[in-house]
Symmetry: C2
Subunit: 551 residues, 2 copies
């Protein structure tokens, strides 16, 4: 193992989100990104998911640093949880660290060393030498990494697209990627999010045209909802607002905080007297107002949601208002977003969203861009990252098309180890990996069993049978009483409930004394009798909980 480089994705290669990769050589280890994933529909009550980073903690003495590609949650959201267990320096570009600093403060992790690195900066971390290479993406100040290791050059793209006309004028660093190609790169790890999409992803600037069209026609107030991290988008709204002599009001805690960070660091340019406060709204004419807010995913407690349902203290929607949802619809959120759109229309607003206008573009490279990256870096081996299995498959096909032999393309799962020596590259074993559920104030305390129970409760509810039994005689002294939640008994006729009571009463009375002495046997009996009854009569399977009270 001594001259072996191990590359281990701990997250982000079986899903969109929770991106995290470990690189290990001898006694040195670096971590690239530490992201979260938002929960899927079958994870009720879960706030988000982070990768299991046990393997990093098991090797805590080796860790030379964490390198961040950019400031999105799916690349930085697990950071506070990792840094609670591990005090190592974190490297990132200034805006990325600006956003992270805020997050670490909330988690009382101000002691962590944050080391800003500009694109083309190089950090030596153990045997690794990590060069920051500028990419374009839907957040400013994103980078990929060119990593020199004793086993060869590795290029990691981070999230990227090839925006030919970026809002801040900062192009992707084609030269550096091409130089890594010229120097002979062993492995490319590249963003697969949009590997299913043909052609090129549109430039962020294309959104501006749509904004200009809308603004030029608007006579009322304009409300734009987008992600708080999309500084480019916020910049464009501000620019177009200025063009049409409108003032900008930012709303939502994360929106204001991110904008302030970006402004302080010079990533956001706001003309004088344009940024006003919510209190100033009353002094403005309708055609002088643009409000930028969060809530583009229909989140129930967001500003936009409150506006849509007339629960916002200072904004009531009226005829002439324009609401622009300038963000993608994350799968699973269609109905929540649809409901907000319906509410806004009902109240007289004109609502403009992705389906009906070009007010959003993706931040990820499509097929042609992905091939270009492969052609720039010309790697000997290729590992698609940032995607579900299908995205990796599509990306692998593109790589084959650019001439990389199938045998040199590796589709890893989370925890799989790719071993690289000067002689060979191969999959070799697996380390601890998985998903940790974060919910409320708890991390990892929601296990699969709890989730399974939640799904079951959600599907059919719960029925409690409460019964008092005299220990000595086995006589039923009270009950059975029946209480249910989320089950149709809540509205059922008394007849049905009486039937069930009688059924339970009779089944317990029939039991012989040996069984009566064992509470768990009585419970099992009640459960099985009732399960059968409910299945046959109602075709339903609620959770059944017999509660036996021995007197």
């Amino acid at each position: 193992m001594n001259n072996t480089l191990s590359i281990i994705p701990l997250g982000g290669v079986e899903e969109i989100g929770q991106n995290m990769t470990v690189m290990e050589y001898g006694d040195d280890m670096i971590v690239i990104d530490a992201g979260l994933m938002f929960p899927e529909e079958d994870m009720p009550g879960i706030d988000f998911v982070i990768p299991d980073f046990t393997y990093i903690l098991e090797n805590r003495d080796k860790v030379r640093g964490i390198f961040l590609t950019h400031g999105h949650e799916d690349h930085t959201g697990a950071l506070p949880f990792l840094l609670k267990e591990l005090n190592v320096p974190v490297y990132g570009t200034p805006l990325t660290l600006g956003l992270v600093r805020e997050k670490l403060r909330e988690h009382k992790l101000e002691h962590i060393e944050l080391i800003p690195v500009k694109p083309r900066g190089i950090i030596n971390a153990g045997v690794f030498s990590v060069e920051f290479i500028r990419v374009t993406h839907s957040i400013v100040d994103g980078v990929g990494f060119g990593i020199t290791t004793p086993a060869g050059l590795i290029v990691h793209t981070g999230d990227f697209k090839l925006d030919p006309t970026p809002v801040d004028g900062q192009l992707m660093d084609f030269l550096r990627f091409a130089e890594y190609g010229e120097r002979g790169t062993t492995l490319l790890m590249s963003d697969s999010t949009n590997a299913e999409k043909g052609g090129f992803t549109f430039s962020e600037k294309e959104v501006r045209r749509a904004f200009e069209d809308i603004f030029s026609d608007a006579r009322g107030r304009i409300i734009v909802a987008t992600f708080a991290s999309n500084i480019h988008r916020i910049q464009q709204v501000i620019d177009v607002a200025a063009m049409f002599n409108r003032k900008v009001i930012l709303s939502g805690k994360s929106m204001i905080s991110n904008a302030q960070i970006a402004l302080d660091l010079g990533y956001l340019r706001i003309p004088q007297n344009i940024w006003l406060k919510l209190e100033d709204l009353k002094n403005l004419r309708d055609d002088e107002v643009v409000m930028i807010t969060t809530g583009s995913q229909g989140e129930p407690m967001s500003v936009l949601s409150r506006i849509a349902t007339d629960e916002h203290k200072s904004i009531k929607i009226k005829e002439g208002d324009i609401v622009i949802l300038s963000a993608k619809v994350i799968p699973g959120n269609e109905h929540s977003i649809g409901r907000i759109i319906n509410h806004l229309f009902r109240r007289g607003a004109n609502v403009i969203y992705e389906k009906v206008s070009e007010i959003h573009v993706s931040g990820h490279a499509s097929k042609e861009e992905l091939k270009l990256m492969l052609n720039l870096v010309k790697p000997r081996y290729f590992m698609p990252i940032h995607g579900e299995h299908r995205h990796k498959v599509y990306h692998a096909r593109l790589a084959e098309k650019t001439g990389i032999p199938k045998a040199n393309i590796f589709l890893l799962d989370n925890g799989d180890v790719l071993e690289i020596t000067e002689e060979a590259v191969q999959k070799a074993g697996k380390v601890t990996s998985g998903r940790i559920y974060v919910d409320g104030k708890g991390v990892g305390d929601v296990e699969d069993m709890v989730l399974r129970d939640r799904r079951r409760l959600a599907h059919d509810g719960i029925v409690l049978i409460i019964i008092g039994i005299e220990k000595l005689t086995g006589n039923i002294v009270s009950g059975p009483d029946i209480v249910s939640r989320g089950f149709v008994f809540e509205d059922a006729s008394q007849d049905v409930i009486n039937d069930v009571k009688e059924l339970v009463y009779n089944s317990v009375k029939e039991l012989d004394s040996e069984i009566i002495a064992d509470k768990s046997l009585i419970q099992a009996k009640i459960r099985s009798v009732l399960k059968k009854y409910l299945r046959n009569t109602m075709d339903r399977k609620p959770m059944i909980m017999p509660i036996i009270f021995e007197v």
Copy 2:
């Protein structure tokens, strides 16, 4: 009210699905469609939703018949539930009734009179004269209605698109729609499903080209998943299979039953010896096989899902297999479908789906087609139907563009009454309406409260506190015991649980004798103490159920 025509949508104007409209004049009433809606994400455990048809039952003596536009579930799925309460004739085209007959048989409703009507057929039902007008849609044998009433002509499009090259060669009946325009139509009710989409919807025939491309390259087996009702799509797969000398195996109960009905009625043409049985699979070479199956939405028990997870008894996916998901992704199903795609890719299949190929087209008219329908029928008044509020808004805008004054366009909610006399058209009042949840064997027994409970249980689970109290003294004689499901206590340390026990014990002990005498007051106390504790220490809000046992 005597010379007044009332048009009352009971479903389908606040959602995509559960389409149902009542037309009433004097002592006569007809019903157009009786559909179901598939549940949204916040309706756990619900199988489907149907409109509240109380108003129809209240007027049961007036009902002259139910008229069906086509055989899709969102237009016929509530029929069995309505017909259980009401024995009236059902009118539809032959295929529509073929599909309905099967459904009614399952519900033991064979006694209902089903009257087949061909396009251009006219049925007199009380004062109403209903003409069937052919439309094109994603199911064959669809119609709209031209309805002559004493208050004027009404045109109802049903679901439609303007397919210029329908698979069965049966064009939409432009002439009839234009004739209603010429005769002077009072009100047009038209399908709003795709009113947000610009341009024209592609012809169903376009899908054939994609199939031909895929089939011509394929060396292994081909599996096509689609909706069992999409006879056109099935026809095209069969045609292309024949072209490439492949045999067709249908799989899935509804797929086989629908195909048989369509075949018997002459709506499906299957060349001799093409349709084989699953048992014949073993005698065929891989490149001789096409299987058509259900499961395009990732339904967990479907054939496709079982194939994808290696649980199908006779089909194991292998390298070279091609799986085509030839159906739209219904919002909310993205993750289930994505998982199936990933499973299939992992097992070596090539998977082709809407995102990466043109293997599906919509069955609903886009903006240009909707305007054409408005121009053909030239109605004085317009009511967009089949859509959420936003779809109706977009459709209304198109109507305005074609010259219908805004005041003549009516956006109704479910239950709203539109009154039409020779003098005026206006909204007037509301009848009973709403959504009935159908779940397991129960209809309407899941009320909103039950659903609310399920959502809450799904989010944070349930905690039971079981405590025995001596009635006379108020002493705690047993417990408190704590049982939880779907809550993190299931994995919590004993320390936490002991803390909670102690907290409950102390709060009950402190109570004075007056409260102890009242079970509900003890419950309230336990609930409030525990709620506060869990919120403060864990930021969680499970359902808390104290169970007091008095001895």
